[in-house]
Amino acid sequence: MNRLTHVLGALALCATALPAGPALAEGGTLVIASTQVPRHLNGSVQSGIATAVPSTQIFASPLRYDETWEPQPYLAESWEVSEDGLTVTLNLVEGATFHDGEAVEAEDVAFSIMNTKQNHPFQSMFAPVESIDTPDTRTVVINLSQPHPALLLALSPALAPVLPKHIFDDGQDPKSHPANSAPVGSGPFMLEEFTPGEAIVLKKNPNFFIEGRPMLDEIIIRIIQDPSALLIAMENGEADIYPFMAGSQEIRRLEGADHLAVTPEGYAAVGPINWLAFNTASEKLADVRVRQAIAYAVDRDFITRALHRGVSAPQRSPIIEGSPFFDESIPAYDVDLDKANALMAEAGFGDGMELTVDYIPGPKEQQQTVAEYLKSQLKKIGIEVTVRAAPDFPTWAGRVGGHDFEMTMDVVFNWGDPVIGVHRTYLCSNIRQGVIWSNTQQYCNEKVDELLNAAAVELDPAKRAALYAEFQQIVATDMPIYWINALPYHTAYDKRLQNVPTGIWGTMHPMDMVSWSE
């Protein structure tokens, strides 16, 4: 007999009361400024914030999430997880249509999940999905090879856009399908114009399946790659919202603008962690004592308070601190140079050593500045650090993916559930030469694999959290990575905007409720 774990009616969505506040105006244009260039607009075959922001406006998905990590109805008005966790049934809302007028049916959802499973870089999202049955046009039955607690989060707008089967199922390679740049979805906004690298213009979907939404007439995503120019656009009112802002100077400057509000909310599921990764296969870094010595020598608080001017938060775990799976009790490795020197001596490096640190090209403040700081700080424990800059992403990715590095600074996202964004970095089976953002540290601990594999199938949230807590304790000791800080993503927006998306997915979430105040 099936256990009904979640049954929420369509009414629940309608009952999601808009917060009390200023009167809301229908219509208007929202200009989103972004430094990120999307390759295309189909989040089914592409991860990343650049694609996810427009993709979540164009495509609807089975579920959406509120601020408390609770799933909410979207294309699925209700859903059930069987008691053994091997079957998930989605009951689709009636009357949803794609932008071309075709009805959204169970076949479309089934096709989309299988398409994402086969073509999205996050293979772990739908790996246990064996088959999908569609007994009628509004019922989707997902059959799993093992329980998969990450599945419901993977059905979010940012990860599981529902594609029109009648357009995408034509035999062309989904990763380079022409419709990826001219997509037809069932989300609150329809694509009007896409100028690659410049702008995306989205118009209100008048037949959106949630009545009375969206509130806005138009969303324009303007790509301004130079952050200084983007700041000016925000200050001058040429743009209304700037998500994924990470520079301390930018944040402080826009906080000073009278017409703007700045918030760090909206990035809990993204979980962006800035870290120092060790190549554990390197002779010098194979000894855990050397890695721990480095951890004791680096002052995480100095980095966040002084180098990042207090806008970023220290991060001492592979799991972002806002996640329900974060373990409070893991050691922080407070600065202790005596202990660090002793560990170096124990490891046989009492006379010091030389190491190289690479860093992913990106904002100087998060990467290069921290790498330069490491150079001066690690000198105190006898490590001569050479900072090796890469002129561009391909050069850095070639070095790190090819395991041709000793230490590297990197930014990696949790992507909501640890199965999606955390496991890939620590599983022995994910040591893959030439693949960036795999286990490039070449770290392998069978106990860690055992815990992660168990957590991946554990349906009880408390037991799952316990498994992840043990995992965090082990990796905090083995230290294949020294986690430094959560990237200080902030969103700046015009104060007249209402219902700015600050849930767990931030702006990678349908903006059907966003409006201007009257």
Binding site: Q46, A199, D226, G398, G401, V435
Partner: protein, 325 residues
């Protein structure tokens, strides 16, 4: 004007472009970094199978010379390929951007020639006067200052101190639905700073060149004769002297066209101008081979065409050259 001259120039131009294609093809592949890894990185990571399929799909498995042969064959058929990054035809990406680049480059060229020559002529009237000294100093500074620095200084000035001109982009998104003339005025408004930034370095050169050229011409017998006949100073300067002093300016203008296009790359990046320069810059960072090749192909075509037009106009301006081939 012999058609043989023109055909020969076009022939040389085509050979030159072939050379540019081969050289660019080899140079860009010497840069470290695998496009498949970049695409995988942009996707958010990938498995070995995905990397293999990306290499297969984009023909990166083939030997280099085979890839070159395929590319040249495609170009001859008018196919510039598909962007690795955007999965869209390179010709389409260029078509979206060539207009803004031509607008920027041509405006900067006209602005620099017009203002430069005007300053040069005024300076030449009194070689030891204030204007002459100003032109010399201005030319030295204008030539010495990097174009991106000028751009950044102008942005700082016009973004906060004197917010008169927009400092980024080509259009205001909020005017998308405005009347056509409002949109044209909006583009012109956005064009002021980038065009001036790009023009300033060449403006200084033209000013100096036309000053020197005018000084030489103004010492000629026929100028003295014109003045003796009582011709007005303006007529002497602009009708008699400038026409003869213009030849070196024309030559330099043609030769500078290539430099203007490379300067546009920096100016477009600084001002977020949606042209080919920015596309080239981004594509190099992404190892998007087909797009880089396509942009360089068009840029070299523009330079070749500009040089042919210069040679042609040179012959129009100087009747003595028309008999030569």
């Amino acid at each position: 004007m012999g058609s043989g001259f023109l055909l020969r120039r076009i022939g040389y131009g085509l050979l030159l472009m072939l050379g540019v294609v081969v050289l660019n093809f080899l140079l860009i592949r010497l840069a470290p970094g695998d496009p498949a890894v970049v695409i995988a990185g942009e996707m958010g990571g990938a498995t070995e199978e995905m990397l293999a399929s990306i290499r297969e799909e984009y023909g990166l498995n083939e030997p280099l010379l085979v890839q070159l042969g395929i590319y040249i064959g495609n170009v001859l058929r008018g196919d510039l390929g598909e962007s690795f990054f955007f999965n869209q035809p390179v010709a389409h990406l260029i078509a979206l951007r060539i207009g803004p680049t031509i607008l920027l480059v041509v405006t900067a060229q006209l602005l620099s020639i017009f203002l430069g020559v005007l300053l040069g002529v005024l300076a030449a009237r009194r070689p030891n006067g204030v204007m002459s000294a100003f032109v010399s100093v201005f030319a030295t500074i204008g030539y010495a200052v990097p174009v991106f620095w000028t751009g950044i200084m102008l942005i700082i000035l016009f973004a906060s101190v004197l917010p008169v001109f927009p400092v980024e982009g080509m259009t205001s998104v909020r005017l998308r639905d405005a009347a056509w003339y409002v949109q044209w005025l909006d583009v012109a408004h956005h064009l002021v700073l980038p065009a001036f930034t790009l023009a300033i370095i060449y403006l200084a050169q033209y000013a100096r060149l036309s000053r020197a050229s005018m000084l030489e011409v103004l010492g000629s017998d026929y100028i003295r004769t014109a003045r003796a006949k009582g011709a007005r100073e303006r007529t002497v300067l602009f009708r008699h002297a400038l026409r003869n002093a213009a030849l070196p300016i024309l030559t330099v203008a043609g030769l500078q066209f290539g430099n203007l296009i490379s300067g546009a790359l920096l100016v477009e990046t600084v001002f977020n101008w949606p042209g080919m320069g920015r596309l080239a810059f981004d594509s190099i960072l992404r190892r998007d081979y087909p797009t880089i090749m396509g942009v360089l192909f068009f840029a070299s075509a523009m330079v070749v065409i500009a040089n042919i037009l210069t040679d042609w106009s040179y012959r129009l301006a100087d009747p003595r050259l028309r008999g030569r081939t």
